[in-house]
């Protein structure tokens, strides 16, 4: 178990480093002169040259990448070109909001999707199974930003039930929750369908395993078998799929944050793209990638706990 987790952890680190380098190269390959953008159109050539030297932009790309990684290791994410504030400050201020949004989005989706999937699996090929199938398939294709726009128009603008923009007053938990509701709803809708379908298939597969019959032959009730003994096995593949899907969820969060003008990694990255503020963009993406790797590791750990066979295989 411990070796399994260590191996998974090492794998996560490798993924992180490789994706950092890729990102770095991709972002700096984008056309446009960061010095010109940062200093404005009236800056002289000399000022721009000084700026490039200061930011290390005159170094070869490999050197830049190496020092970027090295600095990251020390918690130095670079400096915001526009405000001259450390990127780390901006990014870590935005991080908790995005994590909250993503986690609440997934949790409510799982809380609705899982029971729907179980229900459908317990009544396969009946009307209720069909109905749940239709609903979940039709919401799966809905993009989060589209849901965000519709939710915004309907619940915030027309009905005025929820605030339309921002993340709420700092320190006022109720106000923050009130602001969280619509974005979290928008992010989770597609996931309700996705999770319901995954859970249904996985439950049906597990219910067909011979050991389930053993419980029945000892007179354990069908509902108890499904919830207590089949579900913990059936969620294993669902969790690994979800771990990978966190990437999608985070990119959904980016757009949803933009729609709701909600401070977070998404809006940070979005604004940074518009202003070619590379250090901030890179910082936001680095942290998002870190979140992704962490989510995968947590999924692996949960799976290892639920299925001891996997952990032994390594």
């Amino acid at each position: 178990m411990t070796t399994y987790l260590l191996r998974r952890f090492a794998l996560g680190l490798c993924v992180l480093i490789v994706s950092m380098l890729l990102l770095f190269v991709l972002i700096y390959a984008v056309p446009g002169d960061p010095a010109a953008i940062a200093l404005g159109p009236r800056a002289s050539e000399a000022q721009k040259a000084f700026f490039r030297e200061q930011m290390g932009l005159d170094q070869p790309l490999a050197m830049q990448a190496a020092s970027f990684l090295w600095n990251l290791l020390h918690g130095d994410f670079g400096t915001d070109i526009l405000s001259q504030r450390p990127v780390a400050d901006l990014v870590f201020a935005a991080l908790p909001r995005t994590v909250t949004l993503a986690v609440v989005g997934v949790i409510w989706a799982a809380a609705i999707g899982t029971p729907l999937g179980i229900w459908a699996a317990l009544r396969p090929n009946t009307f209720i199974d069909w109905l749940i199938g239709v609903i979940s398939t039709s919401v799966v294709a809905l993009p989060a930003f589209l849901m965000a726009i519709y939710a915004l128009i309907l619940f915030a603008v027309m009905l005025n039930w929820f605030p339309a923009i921002g993340a709420g007053e700092p320190g006022d938990l109720l106000d923050q929750l009130h602001h969280l509701a619509l974005p979290a709803f928008a992010i989770g809708v597609a996931w309700v369908g996705y999770i319901a379908r995954l859970v249904r298939v996985s439950m049906l597969e597990t219910l067909a395993q011979p050991h389930v019959r053993t419980y029945r032959s000892f007179g354990v009730s069908d509902l108890r078998i499904a919830l207590r003994y089949v579900l913990p096995i059936a969620v294993v593949p669902v969790i690994s799929v979800l771990g990978v899907g966190i990437g999608n969820l985070l990119s959904g969060a980016v757009l949803v944050e933009v729609v709701f003008s909600r401070p977070g990694l998404g809006s940070l990255a979005y604004d940074a793209v518009l202003s070619r503020n590379f250090p901030v963009l890179l910082g936001a993406v680095v942290v998002t990638t870190g979140l992704y790797v962490l989510a995968n590791f947590l999924a692996d750990a949960l799976i290892a706990y639920l299925d001891p066979r996997l952990a032994e295989k390594g």
């Binding site: 395993q209 011979p210 050991h211 019959r213 053993t214 419980y215 029945r216 032959s217 000892f218 007179g219 354990v220 009730s221 003994y229 913990p232 096995i233 639920l306 299925d307 001891p308 066979r309 032994e312």
Partner: protein, 321 residues
């Protein structure tokens, strides 16, 4: 004999959407303290009968005739819930494949405790003591260690001992073992049969032992029911049927039993031909296409069951009381 624990009377079973019944007009009884061996080739309906005795046929199966456990008709008077209350308490089973019969992600000890769920009014410590006692009875080494292990860490022989212990913990009045040794190698099989023989002695009720091996029947059973293509062709005590088989199919099975062949040959004799498919049953005697003694009448007319004594019968035109 007192009232039988299990009595089947003209039982026919048809699976949902199957072209024909998998079991037809089967009747037999098993009394307290008796062990009935059910034998027959693959597809003869042995597992179907076992499922029916547990009330575990697939939803939508059609059962006719009566199948009584302690006088109560499992399919006439009992609800799903009543049936469930019998399982794991009055009726217990040992599965064929020990490798898949247990939950792969749960420790053995916890599973054995769950199987005792009808006895959960007993204190936890007492339940654990019973488990340990039972694991010792099935001659499991280090029962304490085994309880902390997962199924994939154990061998087939050990897993099957665990399954036997699980069934015995239920203190059943009817124990059903469906080919409990076919998934095991010969040495392990011999050990498991020994444990089964001992286990039977501790039971207060009846045992049904399903197998295709005549020598196992001889070793473990008091009575025998020979099934062919879903029909009961011969039944009686093991001594009568094996000592003086009446039905041509029983005779053929005995001739093919390796344990009875005196001179070892490189090739085992087999019964020529195959069991007819469900939707391709002959009109007359069901064994006619393969029967070495078939006469003209056999093709046209299905034989009735002829009683050859108390609880002894055979279904063949050539058999006369």
């Amino acid at each position: 004999m007192s009232a039988p624990v299990l009595a089947l009377d003209n039982v026919s079973i048809r699976y949902p959407s199957a072209p024909a019944a998998a079991v037809r007009n089967v009747s037999f009884e098993v009394g307290t303290g008796e062990t009935l061996g059910i034998v027959g080739e693959s597809g003869s309906g042995k597992s179907t009968l076992a499922a029916a005795m547990m009330g575990l046929l697939p939803r939508g199966s059609c059962v006719t005739g009566s199948l009584r456990f302690e006088g109560r008709d499992l399919f006439g008077q009992m609800t799903e819930r009543d049936l469930r209350q019998l399982r794991g308490r009055d009726i217990a089973t040992i599965a064929q494949d020990p490798f898949t019969a247990l939950n792969p992600v749960m420790k053995i000890g916890r599973q054995l405790d769950i199987f005792q769920h009808w006895y959960h009014d007993r204190p936890r410590a007492e339940r654990k003591a019973r488990i340990l006692e039972m694991l010792e009875q099935v001659r499991l080494s280090d029962p304490d260690v085994r309880m902390q292990q997962y199924p994939h860490q154990l061998s087939g022989g050990i897993l099957q001992r665990v399954s036997i212990a699980a069934a015995l913990l239920a203190e059943p009045k009817l124990l059903i073992a469906d080919e409990p040794t076919t998934a095991l190698d010969a040495t392990t099989e011999a050990q498991i049969l020994g444990i089964m023989a001992e286990a039977k002695e501790t039971l207060r009720g009846a045992t049904v032992f399903i197998t295709h091996d005549m020598s196992v029947v001889e070793r473990l059973c008091d009575r025998i029911a020979v099934l062919y293509a879903g029909e009961l062709v011969e039944t009686g005590t093991v001594a009568e049927v094996l000592g003086n088989p009446q039905h041509p199919y029983t005779k053929a099975l005995l001739e093919c039993d390796p344990a009875r062949i005196e001179e070892p040959t490189s090739e085992l004799p087999t019964i020529g031909g195959t069991v007819p498919a469900l939707d391709d049953r002959p009109a007359g005697c069901i064994f006619e296409p393969r029967c070495p003694s078939a006469v003209a009448r056999c093709r046209a007319e299905a034989p009735l069951r002829h009683d050859l004594g108390p609880r002894r019968s055979a279904a063949c035109h050539l058999v006369t009381p």
